[in-house]
C-alpha cells in the first residue's frame, strides 16, 4: 500500500477515534440540563467523563497534527477555508474544558449555572459544527486551481452540511445518553436509558438520510458496505438500549459512529478536499501529501506509539469502570 494511502487511513482512524470518544462526552455535556435535575445529578453526569474527557480531546490534537505533518495542503486549505466554524469550535472547546475544571471550585449557584451553560453550549456547538465541516469536505468546497478556498461562510451552510451537523449532534446525544446509562446507578440511569432510545430513533433516521445523501454525492462499494454496517450497528445498539443491555448498547452506538465516520472517509478517498469549481483545485491524498521521507518516519512513530497510547488509555477506562451515582458525590 502506498504511504499516502496509509496516512489517509491513519487520519481516518484518528478522527474515528476522536468522534467515538469525544462523541459521548459531547453527548453528556448536551444532556447536562436535560438529565441533571439538580446540582448533585449534574455532578454525577460530569464525573462520568471527568477522568477521560481530556484524553479524548487529544485525539483531535493528534488528528490535527497528523494532518499538518502528512497532508500540509489539506490542513492549510481546510483550516483557513473553514475559518469561522473552526473558530466557534475552538471557543466552545475552551469554554467547556475550563468549565469542567472550574465548575466545582466555588459554591455559588450562579457560578455553577454559568459553567453549566459553558458545558452545554461548549458541547453542542462542536457536535453540530464537526458534522457541518465533514459534510462540506464530502460535498466539496470552492477551491481555486492553487488550492485556496474561494467561497464564503454561506457556501458552508448548505442543506446537506446542515443535515450533517444535526446528524452528528443527534448521534452524539444518543451515544452520550447510552454512556450515562452505562456509567451511572439509580434514577439517572433509568432516565438516560429511556432517553437514549427516544433520541436514538431520531438519530437513526437522520443518520440514514445523511449517509444516503452522502453516497449519492460520492460513493464506493466499501462506503456503501460501511454505511449499511453503521445503520445496523445503530439499530443493534438501540435494541440493546431498549433491553437495558447497556454495555452492548454502548458498543452499538460506538460502532455506529465509527462506521459512519469510516463511510465518509471511504467515500472521500482518494480525494481529501474536492473542489466544486476547477477540478485542478481538488486536493487528493497524493497532491496534498508530504514527501515519502517524512511519511516514512511518521509511519514508524505511529506504528510504535499508537498501540501504546491505546493500551494505556484503554487501561484508564478500566480503572474508572465503576458506575457512579448521587451517593458517590462528596459533599465538599
Amino acid at each position: 500500500m502506498e504511504l499516502t494511502t496509509i496516512w489517509f487511513l491513519l487520519i481516518a482512524v484518528l478522527f474515528t477515534g476522536y468522534f467515538i470518544l469525544e462523541g459521548f462526552d459531547f453527548g453528556v455535556g448536551m444532556l447536562l440540563p436535560v438529565l441533571g435535575r439538580d446540582d448533585r445529578e449534574r455532578r454525577v453526569l460530569i464525573n462520568t467523563i471527568g477522568p477521560v474527557w481530556d484524553g479524548n480531546e487529544v485525539w483531535l490534537i493528534t488528528a490535527g497534527g497528523a494532518m499538518f505533518a502528512a497532508f500540509p495542503e489539506w490542513y492549510a486549505t481546510m483550516f483557513s477555508g473553514f475559518y469561522l466554524p473552526l473558530l466557534l469550535i475552538l471557543l466552545a472547546l475552551i469554554a467547556r474544558g475550563v468549565a469542567f475544571e472550574y465548575r466545582h471550585k466555588r459554591p455559588e449557584p450562579s457560578w455553577k449555572r454559568r459553567w453549566d451553560a459553558a458545558i452545554f453550549f461548549g458541547s453542542l456547538v462542536p457536535a453540530l459544527l464537526w458534522g457541518v465541516a465533514f459534510a462540506n469536505i464530502l460535498r466539496g468546497v470552492p477551491l481555486s486551481a492553487d488550492h485556496e478556498y474561494v467561497g464564503g461562510l454561506l457556501d458552508l451552510l448548505n442543506p446537506y452540511a446542515l443535515l450533517g451537523g444535526v446528524t452528528t449532534a443527534a448521534l452524539f446525544l444518543t451515544h452520550g445518553a447510552v454512556f450515562v446509562a452505562l456509567k451511572t446507578v439509580g434514577d439517572i440511569r433509568e432516565r438516560a436509558g429511556k432517553l437514549a432510545v427516544r433520541v436514538g430513533v431520531g438519530a437513526a433516521v437522520l443518520a440514514v438520510a445523511f449517509l444516503a445523501w452522502t453516497l449519492n454525492i460520492r460513493s464506493s462499494t466499501t462506503a456503501v458496505a460501511l454505511a449499511a454496517a453503521a445503520a445496523l450497528a445503530l439499530l443493534g445498539g438501540l435494541a440493546a438500549a431498549r433491553a437495558r443491555r447497556e454495555g452492548w448498547a454502548f458498543a452499538g452506538t460506538a460502532a455506529a459512529i465509527g462506521l459512519a465516520v469510516a463511510t465518509l472517509f471511504a467515500a472521500l478517498f482518494p480525494n481529501v478536499l474536492p473542489s466544486t469549481l476547477d477540478a485542478a483545485g481538488t486536493l487528493t491524498a497524493t497532491n496534498a501529501a508530504s514527501t515519502p521521507y517524512t511519511l516514512k518516519i511518521m509511519s514508524w512513530i505511529a506504528v510504535v506509539f499508537t498501540p501504546i497510547v491505546m493500551a494505556y488509555q484503554g487501561w484508564t477506562y478500566w480503572v474508572f469502570r465503576k458506575r457512579i451515582g448521587v451517593a458517590h458525590i462528596p459533599q465538599h
Binding site: 487529544v58 493528534t62 499538518f68 483550516f79 469561522l84 473558530l87 475552551i94 512513530i301 506509539f305
Partner: protein, 471 residues
C-alpha cells in the same frame, strides 16, 4: 491595518497568553511529583498536604494551558496557511509527534492522577503524576524543535519544483543546536516560575498566620521553593549564555537587535542602558560595559559582534532589497526585561532563604509584598523572552527562507481575522480574571486539613463510598 497585521497581533497575544500557563504546567507537575514522592517515601503528612495543596493550584492552571494550546495548533492553518504549506513537511512532524507521544501521556495520566487517589495503589498513583510530568516536559521539546526550525532551519531542502521546504534529515531537525540549548533554557525558566509560586504562597501563610500547626509545612515549602528558584535561575543563566553565543552565530541580527548595536564592534561593549531615537534607528545615549558583549556573544573578549547596519547591508545583497532588522526598541527592551525580571525573582528567593536561616522566621511586611510579586516576575520574564525571540526573528517567519508577510492566509479576510482576534481576546481576558481569582482563593485557603476526611467511614459500604475527588 490589514489581515496580516491582525494575524500577527493575534499570534502574539494568543502565544504569550498560552505561555502564561505553560511554565507552571511544566515546572509544577515535576515539583508536585517530587512532593508526592517524598510523601510516599517518608509517610510524613506534611508532604501529602503540600502535594494536594500545590496539586490543586497546578490543576487550576493546567486547564487553561490545555484549552489555549489547541488554539496554537489550529492557528497555523487558520491564519498562516501559506506558512503551513511551505513548512508542513518539516514543521508538522514534531507537532504530530508531540500530540501522539507527549500530550496523550500528559492528559491521560493526569486524569488518572486527579481521580485516582482512591482507585490506584499508592505507588501506581505516584507513577501517574510522574507520567504526566514527563509528558509535559517531553511536549516542550517537540514544540521547541519546531520553533527552532523557524529560528535556524536545518535538515531540509527547498524543492525547486514546488518551492517548499522538505525534510531531508529528521535527526538533524530534532537535534537543531538552537533546540538543544533553548530546551534547557525554557525548562529552567519554567522552574523559575513554579519555584516562585511555591515560595510566594508559602510566604504569605507564614507571615499572615504565625505559629499554627501548619507553620513547619509552609517553612519547608518556602525553603524548597526558594532552592528550586535559585537552581533554576542558575540554569537560566548558564543556558542563556550558551544561547547568546549560538544566536550570535546563527541569527546575528537578533543579537545586534538585542543590544541595539548599530555598527560592528570588536571588541564590543554590552549596553546596560541605551536610549535610541523614537524610531529606533539611532543611538542617543548609552551606558556600556566594555568587552562584555564580545564575551557573551563569542566567548572571546575581543570577538567581533556584527552591527545592525552591516548585517542589513549584507542581507540586502543576499536576499534582495528590504528591511531585515526587527523593531529595535522591542528587542532591546524585551531582552533586558527578561533578564531583570528573572533575576529579581532569584534575588527574592535568596532573601527568603536568608530570613529562614537557623530556624528564624520571616516577619517583614516588605518581604511579604516582594514575595507576592515573586511568581509574576519570572512569568513576565518568560513572556519577554518569547517576545524577544519571536520579534527578534522578524521580518522572517523562517529565518532566511520565508518572510512573515508571505506566510499569512490569502483566503482569510480582514473581517474574519478581526472577528477571531476580538473573540479570543475577550474570552482570554475573561478567563484570566476568573483563573487569577480562583488561584488566589485556593492559595489563601491553605493546605488541606487531612484529619477531616472520613477514610474508614463504616456507614457506607464500599460501593457507596463517596469518591475521593469529584468535579
Amino acid at each position: 491595518m490589514d489581515a496580516l497585521d491582525v494575524a500577527r497581533w493575534q499570534f502574539g497575544v494568543t502565544t504569550v497568553y498560552h505561555f502564561l500557563f505553560v511554565p507552571l504546567t511544566i515546572g509544577l507537575s515535576v515539583l508536585v511529583a517530587i512532593l508526592q514522592t517524598m510523601w510516599v517515601r517518608t509517610g510524613k503528612e506534611r508532604y501529602l498536604k503540600l502535594t494536594k495543596f500545590y496539586g490543586k493550584l497546578f490543576l487550576i492552571n493546567f486547564a487553561m494551558g490545555v484549552v489555549t494550546g489547541i488554539v496554537q495548533e489550529f492557528q497555523f492553518g487558520m491564519n498562516w496557511s501559506d506558512y503551513s504549506r511551505f513548512v508542513g513537511d518539516v514543521f508538522g512532524a514534531p507537532l504530530a509527534i508531540e500530540a501522539l507521544v507527549a500530550f496523550f501521556l500528559e492528559s491521560t495520566f493526569l486524569g488518572l492522577w486527579i481521580f485516582g487517589w482512591d482507585r490506584l495503589p499508592k505507588r501506581l498513583h505516584l507513577g501517574a503524576i510522574w507520567a504526566a510530568a514527563i509528558g509535559s516536559n517531553l511536549s516542550a521539546y517537540f514544540i521547541l524543535a519546531a520553533n527552532s526550525f523557524m529560528q535556524n532551519p536545518v535538515g531540509y531542502r527547498i524543492n525547486p519544483d514546488t518551492g517548499r521546504a522538505e525534510l531531508t534529515d529528521f535527526v538533524a531537525m530534532l537535534t537543531n543546536k538552537v533546540a538543544l540549548v533553548t530546551y534547557p533554557h525554557t525548562i529552567a525558566g519554567a522552574f523559575l516560575v513554579a519555584g516562585s509560586l511555591i515560595v510566594a504562597v508559602a510566604l504569605w501563610h507564614l507571615i499572615r498566620n504565625r505559629d499554627t500547626t501548619d507553620t513547619p509545612t509552609y517553612r519547608f515549602a518556602a525553603k524548597f521553593g526558594s532552592w528550586v528558584t535559585l537552581i533554576a535561575a542558575a540554569g537560566v543563566l548558564i543556558t542563556g549564555d550558551t544561547q547568546g553565543k549560538i544566536m550570535t552565530e546563527v541569527q546575528p541580527m537578533k543579537m545586534a537587535a538585542a543590544e541595539g548595536l548599530y555598527s560592528t564592534e570588536s571588541p564590543a561593549s554590552f549596553s546596560v542602558l541605551t536610549v535610541g531615537s523614537l524610531d529606533g534607528s539611532r543611538e542617543l545615549f548609552a551606558i556600556k560595559i566594555p568587552y562584555l558583549l564580545s564575551y557573551l556573544g563569542t566567548g572571546d573578549l575581543n570577538g567581533t559582534v556584527h552591527g545592525i547596519d552591516d548585517l542589513q547591508a549584507q542581507y540586502a545583497s543576499q536576499y534582495g532589497p528590504g528591511n531585515y532588522a526587527p523593531i529595535i526598541p522591542v528587542t532591546y527592551w524585551s531582552f533586558r526585561f527578561m533578564i531583570a525580571f528573572g533575576m529579581t525573582a532569584a534575588a527574592i528567593a535568596l532573601l527568603v532563604l536568608w530570613t529562614h536561616r537557623k530556624g528564624r522566621a520571616p516577619r517583614s511586611k516588605w518581604l511579604l509584598r516582594a514575595g507576592l510579586l515573586m511568581p509574576l516576575l519570572p512569568l513576565a520574564a518568560n513572556a519577554f523572552g518569547w517576545i524577544f525571540t519571536e520579534m527578534g526573528r522578524q521580518p522572517w517567519i523562517v529565518f532566511g527562507e520565508m518572510l512573515t508577510r508571505d506566510g499569512v492566509s490569502r483566503s482569510v479576510s480582514l473581517t474574519e481575522v478581526l472577528t477571531s482576534f476580538t473573540a479570543f481576546t475577550l474570552i482570554y481576558a475573561t478567563l484570566a480574571v476568573v483563573e487569577f481569582r480562583l488561584l488566589v482563593r485556593y492559595a489563601k485557603a491553605g493546605v488541606p486539613d487531612l484529619t477531616e476526611q472520613p477514610e474508614n467511614d463504616d456507614s457506607h459500604d464500599d460501593a457507596e463510598r463517596p469518591l475521593a475527588f469529584a468535579y
